[in-house]
């Protein structure tokens, strides 16, 4: 998907934040920008942000942040209405960008899932799939992460206000890990790590804490997943283990890489 140049924002652009199937964590990241929160509120008119405000004003909105995946018939209609009301639409997080952890259902029998969780599956309305927003409407920018990174979110909002493209690096976690001065957990300890194929953004948190990256930012712009598989096998993972390792928080995105050799999500240039 192409990334059109964001339009020049008018004075006090109107912000809308919307939620679909999700844990609310990415919206909460906005409230977690404690140092920047009041500054953001001064620059943007918060027109619709139900998690934070009783004031829910109708569109159109200049900037819309969408959290969560499309998982019910009502969602399909609602995301179209929101897109029609949004000048610039940004998805925040793995759910809105790649279907999220709930996309595990896409590879399972949803009827069976319903029967596992609910005594009366017939009361529940759901789609058989959990899909990213981009599967339904055009998206101007996709911010990765489960959850998104606070610094990257502030960059996206700042870039929108400045009318420029967000400077979000498209390289892998390995770059961030080296920059942080970590010893490589795979090379030094034989710990399986998805860092080489995972999109940067978290600051290489897992290796910093001595564990292997578990891929919560989804695939990096260019990845060589087939080259990583033997390394993970060497470090004791079975094929099934590797399957589960990849198929968790960005299940559809890593699946697309496996199937096509390319990330199934939007590629955003931008350099580290």
């Amino acid at each position: 998907m192409s990334t059109p140049t964001p339009p020049q924002p008018p004075a006090r652009p109107r912000l809308g934040v919307f939620k679909f199937a999700s844990c609310d964590g990415c919206q909460l990241t906005l409230l977690d920008c404690e140092d920047e929160l009041l500054g953001i509120a001064a620059e943007l008119e918060v027109a619709h942000f139900l998690e934070a405000s009783s004031e829910a004003a109708p569109g159109p909105y200049d900037l819309v942040l969408v959290e969560g995946s499309v998982s019910t018939p009502e969602h399909v209609e609602r995301i179209r209405r929101i897109r029609a009301d949004a000048r610039h639409l940004v998805t925040i997080g793995a759910c809105a960008t790649a279907g999220g952890v709930q996309a595990l259902r896409n590879y399972a029998d949803v009827e069976g899932y319903l029967a596992t969780v609910y005594a009366r599956p017939d009361y529940i309305e759901t789609l058989a799939t959990s899909t990213p927003v981009s599967a339904h409407v055009p998206v101007d920018f996709e911010l990765r992460g489960c959850p998104i990174d606070r610094g990257q979110l502030v960059e996206v909002i700042t870039a929108f206000l400045a009318g420029r493209k967000p400077a979000i690096p498209n390289h892998s976690v390995c770059f961030a890990c080296k920059r942080r001065g970590n010893v490589c957990v795979t090379v030094a300890h034989g710990t399986p790590c998805l860092g080489p194929v995972t999109h940067a953004g978290c600051g290489a948190l897992c290796p910093t804490y001595g564990r292997g990256c578990y891929g919560c930012f989804g695939p990096a712009g260019t990845t060589n997943l087939p080259a990583l598989v033997p390394l993970m096998q060497r470090d004791g993972m079975s094929e099934e283990d590797i399957g589960r390792f990849l198929h968790t928080f960005n299940v559809t995105a890593f699946t697309a890489v496996e199937e096509q050799g390319q990330p199934g999500v939007t590629d955003d240039e931008g350099s580290g």
Partner: protein, 454 residues
């Protein structure tokens, strides 16, 4: 009394704000009497219990944290406890202390979020924290500072505040050094003052009269305010019944969940009765075990003195949901103090975790999420794969009590002659926010739908 509104009326109010998730409320009013209040939660199903099946015994903490971005630590801690229970491992000593410290961080940031950003605007006539930051800037700044300190604790121990990465079955991937933890001390000392000031601030709010008639359920420990462990303990509403506890393994027999047609969240009842978990329940069950400082703050805030009921050995009970903000503020103060205590006594453990070898079995785990008791149960096969998972979040347990609360409040509103759509919506929204429901967990958006007949 005369009803100024039409004999039959249907109202739709499109959104309940400042809660996490989407919920609708259906009110049925007949002849001026509220006959039914149904909270319709339609958070789309996310199937966690289903897709946990087949996962390794090491995976539920990372996976279930994704149920809720507001209380991921609670999910990680309940999952770890349940898995360790199934595998016959007890995590104690400094590792247990570190877990309590991590949880204190989540209590501080999550309760502070609710107090300042979601709840306080109701008492001060503002729509949101942004309006509040104009009318009460010093209080909002203090709230943000306090929340930041809670986040700093979770970030240091967990790597990040939302979905921490450092938690694992058996403990942590990496244990902090003493020097690292000491970095938090100065901020926590400032937070202690901020937490005191928050208690004083909220104590000055006006609290409408209300009483929640549900049984109160919280975990209890012998000698400390229960957070990351404890025995389920019930304080029945009927005061002729004594308080009682039951083993955690009996949880799903005692707290029976049933599905109702109007909600994706399952409804549960405790021993056949309505029950409430969360701050009010914890205060009632364990208030006497708070620190002297937190008790002093509670007394000053007008919550009473739990030690005065010495014969019962229980806290003075507060059943007014509006006043839950006071208990939350006291709990923040306590969590800050606990965090300081744990850091002062910290010695870095030899290993950041204990081994938890997989084995076949069933394990139960419960901890006190900021919003209430969160129960997990897992069954594992011999290879350590999950064969069954059961998760009972606090909001699902509280739903029945919230509905009853709404029914009474609307009735009282109608009796006072407050029958307009705007008045009733305001009443209901406040009532729901009093309980700090985390609807992502259970099921989200309040659509008020009032049906009146005569």
């Amino acid at each position: 009394m005369s009803d100024p509104t039409p004999r039959y009326q249907e109202l739709r109010i499109p959104s309940l704000a400042r809660v996490e998730g989407e919920t609708a409320l259906h009110l049925r009013i007949h002849d001026g009497t509220v006959t039914e209040a149904r909270l319709k939660i339609y958070e789309p199903p996310r199937f966690f219990e289903a897709f946990l099946r087949g996962r390794a015994h090491t995976e539920p903490p990372d996976l279930t944290s994704r149920i809720c971005g507001i209380c991921p630590v609670a999910y990680q801690m309940s999952a770890c406890r349940a898995i360790e229970d199934a595998c016959g491992v007890v995590v104690d000593g400094q590792l247990a202390a570190l877990r309590r410290l991590l949880y204190c961080g989540e209590w501080i940031e999550s309760q502070t979020l609710h107090i300042h950003m979601l709840h306080a605007p109701d008492f001060l006539g503002e729509d949101d924290v942004i309006g509040l930051s104009r009318s009460h800037p010093e209080h909002v700044k203090r709230g943000l500072r306090l929340k930041q300190t809670g986040n700093a604790v979770v970030e240091l121990l967990g790597g990040r505040a939302i979905h921490p990465v450092n938690v694992r079955v058996g403990g942590f991937h990496r244990a902090p050094t003493r020097a690292e933890l000491r970095l938090l001390e100065e901020r926590l000392r400032t937070a202690l003052d901020d937490a005191w000031d928050t208690v004083r601030w909220v104590a000055g709010f006006e609290f409408p009269d209300a009483e929640c008639d549900a049984d109160l359920l919280a975990l209890a420990e012998e000698d400390t305010y229960a957070i990351e462990s404890g025995l389920p303990t019930v304080l029945p509403y009927d005061e002729t019944l004594p308080p009682y506890s039951f083993p955690l393994r009996d949880f799903t027999d005692r707290v029976a969940e049933e599905q109702v047609s109007h909600s994706t969240a399952l409804h549960s009842r405790l021993d056949g009765r309505r029950h409430l978990t969360g701050s009010l329940a914890r205060w009632a069950v364990s208030g006497h075990l708070l620190s002297p400082l937190a008790l002093e703050a509670a007394r000053e805030a007008g919550l009473g003195d739990p030690l005065s009921r010495a014969g019962v050995g229980r806290a003075e009970v507060c059943r007014n949901p509006y006043r839950s903000i006071l208990v939350r503020a006291v709990e923040v103060l306590y969590a800050v103090e606990e965090a300081l205590r744990i850091i002062a006594e910290y010695e870095r453990p030899a290993s950041p975790y204990v081994e938890v070898p997989a084995r076949a079995g069933i394990g139960h785990g419960a901890t006190e999420a900021p919003r209430g008791l969160l129960y997990h149960r897992y069954a594992f096969d011999g290879g350590g794969r999950v064969t069954d998972a059961r998760i009972v979040p606090p909001t699902a347990q509280n739903q029945g009590a919230i509905e009853e609360d709404l029914r009474r409040l609307v009735q009282a509103g109608l009796d006072r002659g407050e029958g307009s759509e705007a008045e009733l919506t305001r009443l209901c929204e406040r009532a729901v926010r009093n309980h700090d429901p985390c609807i992502s967990c259970s099921a989200h958006f309040l659509e008020l739908d009032i049906e009146r007949t005569h």
